[in-house]
Each structure stands twice: as C-alpha cells, then as structure tokens.
Symmetry: C2
Subunit: 250 residues, 2 copies
DNA sequence: GCCCTTAGTATTTTACTGCAACTAACTTAG
DNA sequence: CTAAGTTAGTTGCAGTAAAATACTAAGGGC
C-alpha cells in the first residue's frame, strides 16, 4: 500500500501535461433575460481571432490558476460582462469536436444563466469586446454567430422553454419584487402562449417558491396587486405543463 | 473582409496550444444494465497511476487524432470495454475542478449508457484493467471509487431513475425481443417499486415506441406473452409518473 | 357615482388516473 | 379429461384533478 503511494508520488512528479496532445477546453455562457416584453440573450463582439468581429456567446478559457472549478469560470465570465454576481446558473451541456474551432480540437462546457433585466451594466470594452442584448426569435437570434454557438443557443432556448414549463425557474428573470401577473407574463413571453390564470396561481400556491411581501402592493389605475419575492427554496419541479392556448393572431 | 481572413490565417499559423496552461480533459462513462434482476454498473480496475488498482468508471482522454467528437470518444471507450457498438448514449454532465485529479486541473465529460445484459464480452486485460459488473445499491456501489466517480455515479443513478419514470428509455436495457411484462419488470427494478399494469400498458400503447413482432410469442408454463421489439423512434417523453406503490416487505 | 381595467376567487364541467375485478390462454397434476 | 395454478391482458368504475368559465374585489379616471 505504502509502495503504491510512493509509486504514485513518483509518477506524479514526472507528469507533464505538455507532453500530450490535448484539446482546447473553454466555458461558454448563454445569458438570458426578459427585456422589452421579450426574451433576450447576451452576445459579445469578438475582439480577437478566430472569428474576429463576429458576435458570439460570452465565454473563454479556463484559467487553471484562478478558477477553482468550472462554475467559477462561468461566474467570472458573467461578472466581467454584466456585473451580476448572483445569477441563476446551471450547466447546459458539453460540446466538443475536431472542427468547431480552427485552432484545433476544441471542447466547451456551456452554461445557462438567468438574470433580471434591471440594473445591468454591460461591459463596453473600447469598441471591440462590446456586449449587447439580442432578441430571441423562435429558436435563434438575428446575427450569425461564431463557432457552433448558434447550435448551443438553440439547445439553450429549448432547455429554457422546458424549464419554464416545468419548474419554478422563471422567478430568476424578475427583480427582487414582482407581482404574480408579472411572473405569469414571463411565462407567456418565454413560452409564446397564454397561460391559464387559475392554473398558474394554483401552481404558485403549491410550489412555495415565492412569498408575499407584507403590506407591499403595486398600484396602478386599477386594483392593486400584491408584491412577492423569491422564497429561499431550491428549484421546484412540477410534473405537468399548465393549461393554456397558443395565442391566435387577430 | 479579405484582410480579416488573412489576419486569421496568420494568427492560426502561430497558434500553439502548448504555449498555454490548459486543464486535462477526459470522457467518463456510466454504463448501466439490468442483470440478475438488479441494476448494475460497469467498473474497471485501474492499471495505472493515479488511483492505481482502485475501481473507477471506464473512460479516458480524448484522442484528438482519432476521435471526431466527444461522442466518438465515449463510443470508443464503450466498445473497448464491452464490445457493444450501438448502445443508448447521452451526455450526463461535465465535472471539472482543481482537485479531482492529482495530476492537475481536470475536467471530464460524463456520459451515460444503457446496454442489454445479454451477449456482453467484458474486456479482461491481463489482470489489471479488468472490467466487472457491480450491483447498484440505492445510490452507490460497494467499492470505493477513484477520482470523484462516486459523485458522478450518484448523479447518473438519479438521472436514470428520472428517465425511467418519464421516458421510453428503459427499452434500451432489454435485448432485441421482449415481452411487456419484462419491460415492466425493468421499470420496477430500477424504480424500486411496483408499477400498475394497466397504467403501464396504456403508456406503451400511446407512446408507440415498441411494436409487436408478428406471430412471435414467449411460451412458459402459462398463457404465452406477445413479443415486442423497439420501434425506430426517438425517445418519447411522458409528463406523468405511472401509478404504483412502494413495495412493502412481508 | 358609474365605468373600465386588472387582481384574485369560486364553480362547474370534463378528463383521466388509480384501483380492482375480470377474462384469456397456457401447463401441470391427478 | 378435467380441475387447479399461473401469468397475460382487458374492462369498468369511482374518486380526483385539471380546464374552462363565470364571478367578485378594488382601485383610478372622468
């Protein structure tokens, strides 16, 4: 046993990653928010080769000296671009093949973040490396994207729609305080269809993932609405979609 | 534009990954089957450092010269260990941090495979690198595992149970021909509870992911059962669990 | 003070699950 | 040859939950 341990120390002292042909490994982010009543995604204009000057998902290489783990890399990139430090963040999926990056065999861990639209300070970066919100149209975005980022985005949109349908996750797209109608609106914007009010409110009551803010109301030119905030709960999963119809054009 | 392209060529001709500190990147596999009426997972005994002689998930480094993409790496490893060439295979999740591998910052793409238990030729490899099936007990397996493989396995088991509950995926754990009772048995073994027969058969009918084999029956000492095979359909998702009770001990 | 609008609740109607009983088709024992 | 035992597969019913819709509540504007 002790021999094995000594063997291992011996082995490690001679190990050098630069002796091997390894792939590039990066982390990319799909950052969603709802602005102007519409789902939007954050893109950055690339300041360097390859794909210089094309729009792409924010991301970059793992800094093996500064980053403890993959999530730390993702959070660092998110913070650099948006200033947001406590987003909803989950891993989307890995992508890796010979051809996605002209520099060589490349793999990436794609992450998926939700942030409220308010108080976001986008990174400018002198002309290049600028960040900007783009509207999500159906399954994609208007500009052509670098690498295989269009594919990653499409998968992220699917995943988002699915999670909005089946989990309590949409609360992360709203600011601190919100009304139930606003939360329902988020559902409708992301899913692209109306949602039944009583089914929606029943889910809210049963899920316990939001709580009333005592004595807080949003006033308008009609009956005031109760204000809610996120409860300190992990994501809740529901096993059914909610009722609703696809909106008809009129 | 042409200038940008020339710039990019210039840039690429000088790019050398060995100039950078990069993480290790590997692919690991969680291979499930149902044998002896019980869920089992394939492990290999490590023949080399680090963690020499410990049990671990099968896997290894991406061979950037032979592997087209991540899935190709996963399929190659699966084939080397089991001989199986057409498994059900999906990506589980990525794992990566500073500490999981003593050789340095390491990331892995974990895959999740289902294979039928029949006709599997396990790799022997002279004493070391031997592959063996282990019973899944609750959320883990009896031997201690190398790296963070116990964590990866636990997540894979959760994912499997969830998918068995909500998708048509269990068909991939059975051989070419099977009866509906056998398929129901797979559900019960993986989920650890009984499943209602009529709810189960209703799901089968609606899902269209299996088809009757004409004139084929399994005979026993009682009424013969119709034989079925997988239909050529992608995985079907259901939005409800099926009825059933947790088995009571007697 | 009435109307309009949005918030929020109650009721009815409809569909489907969960459960259990039932029939079907074979083998084996006597 | 028949009865018993076992597993395959279907049917029917009752309780429950979801979808649809009608309703009440509470403000502001005029």
């Amino acid at each position: 046993m002790s021999t094995t341990h000594q063997d291992e120390r011996e082995f490690l002292s001679h190990y050098n990653i630069h002796d091997y042909d390894v792939p590039l490994t990066s982390v990319d982010l799909v950052i969603f928010t709802v602005r102007e009543e519409v789902l939007q995604v954050l893109l950055v204009r690339r300041g360097e080769h390859p794909f210089k000057e094309m729009w792409s998902l924010p991301g970059g290489f793992i800094d093996i000296h500064r980053d403890q783990d993959l999530e730390a890399t993702a959070l660092r990139k998110l913070r650099e671009k948006t200033g947001v430090v406590t987003p909803y963040l989950e891993q989307l999926q890995g992508f890796g093949n010979k051809t996605r990056d002209p520099r060589g065999w490349s793999s990436t861990f794609a992450y998926f973040a939700l942030i409220p639209s308010e108080h976001i300070e986008l990174a400018h970066g002198a002309n290049t490396e600028a960040a900007q919100w783009f509207r999500v149209e159906e399954n994609s975005v208007q500009p052509e994207l670098a690498f295989d980022h269009a594919q990653i985005l499409a998968i992220a949109i699917l995943r988002l729609r699915n999670k909005v349908e089946y989990t309590s996750l949409p609360v992360h797209l709203l600011p601190e305080q919100f009304t139930l109608s606003e939360l329902q609106g988020i559902h409708e914007v992301v899913l692209g269809r109306t949602v039944d009010k009583s089914a929606f409110r029943k889910r809210i009551k049963e899920g316990n993932f939001v709580e009333e803010i005592p004595d807080a109301w949003r006033y308008g030119s009609n009956r005031p609405a109760k204000l809610y905030r996120r409860a300190n709960q992990p994501t809740v999963y529901f096993n059914r979609a909610m009722g609703g119809r696809v909106e008809e054009k009129d």
